[in-house]
């Protein structure tokens, strides 16, 4: 018997019980569809997280001063000493001879202040920094201009504002460039001219990165209480993404020698965006594997459904099997016939599942845009057919093993 004949015979067998066949196919459909869709959701959320992290700037290293360090070569016992990041350190790091992999260093001094324009006022994060902070943090200027080194040098009272601040202070459609806003922190108050507006930027931390006013760090003196020429935080930008680790080492070495201690003893908290990226990638891939495993279980359940229905079919058609054997069907022909039925069920389920999975992954699911991977589609389909062969074999073999004399007697 040729494959085509097996197919037509199997199709005839399946169409004898359309509802039952359809339900079995549905079982496989759900299994295959779930694998494709859930893997796509896992994959989609992984891509989303990574792109958000990339939006933070992947070439940057954030160094935060946690205050004091204890034991070091220059100190003894438990005596502790304040570690500092000074303007001189920043200058050293910016020197391409001493730190060849560092593109720029931006001191960062942030404080929550009240900003007001005309009658409107709001709470905003003021970040006092250098012009290099903007590209390092992936901020782009949408309108007007960024702060420049001349602004830093002249302690210019200028600010670049984020989208949230813009909408909080200004009526919709108003042009803020050239207007003056007032910034108040405690007793200190200063007036800043808005020179630019930042483009909106994504967030990973839950803190709105667009509720910001960026001012030259020299201007912060006398305004922000934290300003002591000892920066709480600096952002180091590497020349390119593969130099991030080298840049981190150079910055750490410079800070360690300036503070007369070792890198290990520096009380600085260093966040390397690239390590964050790889951590998140491994986290989300674990998540994807977990989702895929859950879906694979439903694929298995679908396979058991096929086996169940094939066992019922074989029992129901015992007499037919007897007739076929009596008129000379060899064992292989009976095995092939019922195996083909099982595989057709899984094949239909697999195809429909692929369709449902691909269609389903076009929609947003719990805020995630699923991204179906060709591998998961092919794998789910192949596994579905393999499941059909595996679970179809036992019932088919049972049919093929029936003794014709017993099968013919079956009522």
């Amino acid at each position: 018997m040729t494959i085509l004949l097996y197919m037509t015979t199997a199709l005839r067998g399946l169409s004898a019980n359309k509802l039952r066949s359809a339900l079995t196919v549905l079982g496989m459909l759900i299994g295959v569809g779930a694998v494709i869709l859930l893997v796509a959701v896992g994959n989609g959320s992984s891509i989303a997280v990574q792109s958000k992290i990339k939006a933070l700037g992947t070439n940057t290293i954030t160094i935060t001063n946690r205050g004091r360090f204890g034991r070091g070569p220059a100190t003894t016992g438990t005596q502790s000493q304040a570690a500092t990041i000074t303007a001189a350190d920043i200058k050293t790091m910016s020197d391409p001879n001493q730190a060849p992999d560092i593109l720029s260093v931006s001191p960062v001094l942030s404080a929550s202040v009240t900003a007001s324009y005309q009658d409107a006022s709001t709470t905003v994060t003021v970040t006092a920094t250098s012009p290099t902070y903007l590209p390092a943090e992936d901020y782009t200027v949408e309108a007007g201009r960024s702060i420049g080194s001349s602004d830093v040098a002249s302690s210019a009272q200028v600010a670049v504002i984020g989208q949230t601040l813009l909408s909080n202070l200004y009526p919709a459609g108003a042009n803020p460039i050239g207007t003056d806003i007032f910034v108040t922190e405690g007793k200190n108050e200063a007036q800043f001219q808005v020179i630019g507006v930042l483009a909106a930027k994504g967030s990973t931390t839950g803190v709105d990165p667009n509720n910001i006013a960026i001012i030259p760090y020299t201007t912060a003196e006398g305004l922000l209480t934290g300003y002591t020429n000892n920066f709480k935080q600096i952002i180091v930008e590497a020349k390119n993404s593969k130099d991030v680790n080298a840049a981190e080492a150079e910055a750490s070495d410079i800070l360690a020698s300036a503070n007369q201690t070792t890198v290990a003893n520096l009380p600085f908290f260093v966040i390397n965006e690239q390590s964050l990226l790889s951590t998140s990638a491994s986290t989300t891939s674990t998540f994807t594997v977990l989702l895929g495993a859950v879906a694979a279980i439903s694929l298995l359940v679908g396979g058991i459904g096929i086996m169940n229905i094939m066992l019922v079919t074989v029992t129901e058609r015992t007499r037919e099997i007897g007739i076929r054997k009596a008129i000379g069907a060899p064992r292989g022909a009976i095995l092939g016939q019922f195996l083909t039925e099982a595989v057709l069920l899984s094949l239909f389920g697999g195809l429909a599942g692929v369709a449902v999975g691909l269609i389903g992954s076009r929609f947003k699911i719990v805020g995630v845009k699923p991204v179906a991977t060709p591998t998961s589609v092919v794998e789910a389909f192949v596994v579905a057919v393999a499941v059909g062969v595996f679970f179809g074999f036992y019932p088919a073999n049972r049919a093929a093993s029936l003794r014709p004399v017993d099968a013919l007697r079956y009522e």
Binding site: R12, A16, R319, E320, I323, I327, A329, R331, L408
Partner: protein
């Protein structure tokens, strides 16, 4: 050449007998006790014979049919089917023997449901590996022979019992087997349909086919040429019943 048991009808042909049974026994285990369905049967049926095997239920005639049809194997004794010793044949070879040498007709027709008359007739040739074109042609010829050319596309459920049984006969003869073996072929049919089916068997036999019927109806047995009676697993009589011409009128008047 197979040995022929003593007491067999004489044959002037070189060909081996279609059926040669020698001291066949078949024992079933029913719990602790053993049931001797066949207790030592020897029988020879030559090519071209038309034989009825008769017996009450429990006489062993169904067991005999199963053994002759290679659906079951004897507990002891030897069986040559068309010169082939079927003892020790494995499952695959037995299937091939059934396919090539025997055409079955069953009491309950046993057509494959949801499969057209023509496809049912093609089925044994399918398992024999006959090409589609030849299959179709031979199936149509067989259907014509039983007088149902117009029913080729009908499903079994769309045909009367008599028609179904004639399709089954067509399926049995389409592979050109050495033996047509019918188990109570008229058991589920009314008088008229029985007569039609018996007419087909008679005409097949006249064309030289070997036909063996298992039956418990005397008037069916009367239409054959030889009647073998079984009781308690043994042959109690074996007589020629040839009565000359076909007796269709009598069958119809029954």
């Amino acid at each position: 050449m197979s040995p022929v048991p003593s007491g067999s009808p004489s044959s002037d042909r070189q060909l081996p007998p279609v059926i040669a049974l020698r001291n066949i026994t078949r024992t079933y285990k029913m719990g602790d006790s053993e049931v001797h369905a066949l207790a030592g049967v020897s029988l020879v049926i030559e090519r071209g014979e038309f034989v009825a095997i008769m017996g009450a239920s429990g006489s062993g005639k169904s067991t005999m049919m199963n053994i002759i049809g290679c659906l079951d194997v004897p507990s002891s004794g030897r069986y040559w089917l068309d010169g082939v010793d079927v003892r020790g044949l494995d499952e695959t070879r037995l299937a091939r023997v059934r396919n090539r040498k025997i055409g079955f007709v069953f009491q309950s027709f046993n057509l494959i449901p949801r499969t057209s008359a023509l496809a049912n007739i093609e089925l044994p040739m399918l398992y024999a590996g006959v090409h589609a074109k030849e299959r179709r042609a031979r199936a149509l010829a067989a259907l014509d022979l039983v007088g149902l050319s117009s029913r080729a596309g009908h499903m079994p459920s769309e045909m009367s019992g008599g028609q179904q049984q004639r399709v089954a006969v067509a399926r049995a003869l389409v592979t050109n087997p050495a033996l047509i073996l019918a188990d109570e072929p008229t058991g589920n049919l009314d008088t008229h349909a029985s007569d039609e089916v018996m007419n087909v068997f008679e005409s097949l036999n006249r064309a030289g086919r070997t036909v063996v019927l298992i039956t418990h109806e005397p008037d069916i047995a009367e239409r054959t040429k030889r009647t073998v009676r079984l009781r308690d697993g043994l042959i109690i009589s074996d007589e020629n019943t040839t009565r000359g011409p076909r007796r269709a009128e009598m069958g119809a008047a029954r």
